[in-house]
């Protein structure tokens, strides 16, 4: 009978293979889904068309295309990817190519191995999705994806068609659950080797930042506020005041009359030594989002940092030689006195006073007049700030375009702008009066997430201010504070919600400081810190925590081996129980029966058989004779009668559980 069904099943491979193809298509869909927003539109269209045709072909038993069709098709898929992306490496192009090739492989799935190869390609697709996306939902998707792909592998590995989806999912789910502890062990203990082995592909448009190497305020008519996170900060103790939170970024010293640019980097070592033990300082840890450039951000003025291979450049900017292409965490300590050390050479002085000849003549004239009216440089600069404050200057995110003489136009005509306009005008006025000055860009402020106890600094917090050389050091002047003090005191978010910034209406409500977004941010930060940020350093922290002070390869290998042996031992013990399982319930029930019977009179002698023992007890308690004979007889039949049907065994153990003999025979009343 069973032989018959086995034979029948083998006669219809088409139905089986259709089910398996459906699973393959499902695996492809799950692996392709996270790529959809990033790859060219034609790829999913071609993929669905080919997969759909393949399913129809299986359903109607059309012949599969020959190599004469498949090879040109695969080549044109390759060419299509190459034409679309101009490359086949990169994450986008690579995943598109993988997807196309996996689909082409569907056209020649004959054997079990062909089908398995499609699933393997899907694993690669899933992997490449995580190169792009590491958000909080990604691990959930990882599990769902792996579950579906493993189930698909389970289904296509069968030689005679699929089993019910629920059955397959349960089986693969169990496999996954068993694998989980081992995977966690690998994750924590597998030796992490730092550093890329080959160059990382450029992320292109993804590495957008609020900061750049140049600034041209006159050309910007609308400053888009991006709520993308620039970095997160955790202070060691209390956070400094909002007005102290100047996160120093690129320093722009070269001015061509309209645009500010960074000067070629040069380095003076030991600048920080001028700064030891001076005033208040703050220690903190920054988790910087990747931005593809070389600068790191730090609170003004950094004196210590542990970021690897980071140095301070001449304009006191923290830079690194390798671009920040992945999320980076570093600790730093900064002084909070609004000054920056520097060395002023004659050449440097000339460069920091330079203004292109013939530009902004009215501004230069204004500077001469105002300087003449002031007692000293500091008084002059305060007069400039007073001018911004007292005359009708406005802070606006949607300023008018400035003319050719951009600073003149701003100071005398439009009189509205954002931080870049004010910093630029202030530096021009300072230089015009013979005071070396430069523009500093970075971020100002931030938003405290009380749940996670960290500060979030967004791209919208990007800011620009001025530094002038006074009394042998660089002093910070923030002209924007003179115009829109709430921007500095409360941060961009606070200023927007107070409605004190022109052009802010369209941005209001952009940052919802609601509990929900706070929790989400806290969760994200924890995820970044503890899971995504897990690396060689965290691993050695973990090893230290477990008591291994100097973790070596030997420790790791021994640890892994112990863990593996423990896990395998556990699995072995479990399997042994399972193997014994068919016999064990019966023995357990018999042991229980003997224990209960022993209460009546005496325990069973080791050599006594079940029926002997029952008879012996029955001589003492004839009232129990029938019951005892039935129970012990049932055991003897189950034990020695060959087949151990588990239903009979469980019926027996139920009967034993119900058997509760009294110690003494019931007293006869008559």
């Amino acid at each position: 009978m069973s032989k018959q069904t086995a034979k029948d099943r083998r006669k219809e491979p088409a139905r089986g293979s259709l089910g398996q193809l459906l699973w393959l298509a499902g695996a492809l869909a799950v692996a392709a889904l996270p790529h959809l927003p990033y790859i060219a539109l034609w790829v999913p269209i071609v993929v669905s068309a080919v997969a759909g045709w393949r399913l129809l072909a299986a359903g109607y038993r059309w012949p599969l295309p020959s190599a004469w069709v498949r090879v040109p098709l695969a080549l044109s898929g390759f060419a299509g990817v190459l034409l679309t992306y101009r490359q086949v490496t990169g994450v986008d192009a690579g995943s598109a190519l993988l997807l196309v090739m996996a689909t082409m492989k569907l056209l020649e799935t004959r054997g079990q191995r062909d089908r398995a190869v499609v699933v393997f390609l899907c694993f690669f697709l899933l992997f490449s999705a995580f190169l792009r996306e590491q958000a909080l939902w990604a691990p959930a998707y990882l599990f769902i994806g792996v579950l579906v792909l493993i189930t698909a592998l389970l289904q296509v590995a069968r030689f005679d068609g699929t089993v019910k989806p629920a059955t397959a999912l349960v089986t693969s789910g169990r496999l996954l659950l068993q694998a989980l502890p081992l995977a966690v062990l690998f994750f924590l203990l597998f030796p992490r080797i730092p550093g890329p082995f080959w160059s990382l592909p450029q992320r292109g448009s993804q590495a957008e930042t609020g900061l750049s190497e140049s600034m041209s305020p006159g050309d910007i008519t609308s400053l888009a506020l991006s709520d993308a996170i620039a970095f997160r900060v955790r202070f060691d103790g209390d956070a400094p005041r909002g007005s102290d939170l100047y996160w120093r970024g690129p320093v722009l010293s070269e001015f061509d009359g309209r645009e500010w640019e960074m000067r070629a980097l040069s380095f003076f070592p030991k600048l920080t030594e001028q700064l030891r033990d001076e005033g208040r300082s703050a220690g903190y840890e920054i988790t910087l989002e990747p931005h593809g450039r070389r600068w790191l951000l730090a609170l003004e003025t950094p004196i210590e940092w542990d970021a690897k291979a980071a140095v301070i450049s001449a304009p006191y900017q923290l830079v690194r030689f390798r671009p920040i292409d992945k999320r980076t965490t570093y600790r730093a300590r900064s002084l909070l006195n609004g000054t920056t050390p520097g060395i002023m050479t004659e050449r440097g002085r000339t460069a920091d006073l330079k203004l292109p000849t013939g530009t902004n003549p009215r501004s230069l004239a204004l500077a001469q007049t105002m300087r003449a009216d002031s007692a000293d440089d500091a008084g002059y600069l305060n007069a400039v700030l007073r001018m911004f404050r007292e005359q009708p200057f406005f802070y606006s995110l949607t300023p008018a375009v400035l003319g050719a003489q951009s600073v003149d136009d701003f100071l005398f005509n439009t009189r509205e702008g954002f931080c870049g306009h004010y910093a630029s005008a202030f530096v021009v006025l300072a230089r015009a009066a013979g005071i070396p000055a430069r523009v500093v860009t970075g971020y100002q402020g931030g938003e405290l997430n009380p749940l996670a106890n960290h500060w979030v600094v967004r791209q919208a917090d990007a800011h620009a201010w001025a530094e002038v050389w006074l009394k042998d050091r660089w002093l910070r002047y923030d002209p924007t504070a003179a115009v829109a003090p709430e921007r500095i005191e409360w941060g961009m978010d606070g200023a927007l919600s107070r409605g004190s910034i022109a052009g802010a209406e369209e941005f209001r409500g952009r940052f919802l400081s609601s509990g929900l977004s706070m929790s989400w941010d806290a969760l994200n930060a924890a995820w970044n810190r503890w899971v995504l940020g897990f690396g060689p350093d965290s691993q050695s922290d973990l090893m230290r925590w477990t008591g291994v002070t100097t973790p070596s390869l030997r420790h790791l290998v021994v640890g892994l081996a112990i863990g593996m042996i423990a896990l395998l031992g556990l699995a072995g013990a479990w399997h042994y129980r399972q193997l014994q399982g068919s016999r064990e319930p019966l023995l357990r029930a018999y042991r229980q029966l003997c224990q209960r019977t022993a209460r009546i009179w005496r325990a069973r002698h080791p050599a006594e058989g079940p029926q002997e023992y029952a008879c012996a007890v029955a001589t003492v308690r004839p009232d129990l004779a029938t019951e005892l004979n039935a129970l012990f007889g049932a055991y003897a039949r189950l034990r020695y009668d060959g087949a151990q049907d588990w239903q009979r065994v469980s019926a027996f153990s139920r009967a034993v559980r119900r058997f509760r003999p009294t110690r003494r025979p019931p007293v006869a009343h008559d």
């Binding site: 398995a116 190869v117 691990p139």
Partner: protein, 328 residues
Amino acid sequence: MMAAGLANITAGFGRALRSWAQRRQGTDPLEVELHTRRIYILPTRAGMLFAMITFVMLLGAMNYNNNLGFALTFLLAAVAIVSINQCHYNLAGLRVAALGAEPVFVGDKFQFQFALHNARDGKRWQIRLNWDGQDEAQYVDVPATGQQIIALSLAAEQRGLQRAPRLRVSTRFPLGLLQSWAWLNLELTGLAYPRPAERAFGAAAGSLTQAGANTSGEDDYAGMRQWRPGDSPRRIAWKAFARTGQRLVHEYSGAGAPVWIDWSSEPDRNTEQRIAKLARRILNAETSGCEFGLRIPGVEVAPAQGPGQRHRCLQALALVGAPAKVAA
């Protein structure tokens, strides 16, 4: 060239493995429980590919220092490791009972039946049975605490007793990345009847009359007698049976004189051709329903009728010159 070399090495390794397994296991009884110590396990080619892919992913995850990549890689590696256990466990403790095969004629196929008992309360998936070294295989899922009977065919090549090759019970459950298997050296034989000749009589005349006489016995009705084992069902008086409940058999006058199918009556000098002709005559005799006996050198099968007699005679024919044949 290299592939061929590799194939040679693999084949040589396979041979060494087989003979080693044979030495350590010895011959098995007809019912065997697959103990863990006799289950071997190795990755399949898909499994090797999977290992390669996991390794490439590991390199990728290291290169990008991507922890989700690490997570995926390690999860896949752990799944593969756990599936070693499951693959092995799927086979461990399975009982395989050989039920033997019905005799067939040379050139036909034996259907060797096996009962697979599963004492565990979980299904055993995708159990594959094949003869060692042969591609044809049967797959079966054995239900929880149940059994499944599966037939594996084997070509009958020579008359006489044919020893079945070593049985291979294997599984690739769950993911097809690994294959675990056990070899069963069962003393399992099938009886191959000689292939009957197309026609019972060739040019030789003598046999014609004899055979003709043999089959004419049904004409004269002689009455009824009690049923005896070996009587053809066609001769049972079903009407009488329905009426009385007694099994009576119609008897014909010719039936009294049994037909002897005699080795010496066959003129053919070639032993195998002679056996083929005799086999055909046995089949004819059985079809006609008469009593027949077989005389071959050293063996005499007493006259009787029915399928049992047919089997006895064909078996005797199959085993002509047997001691030398069985060894083969």
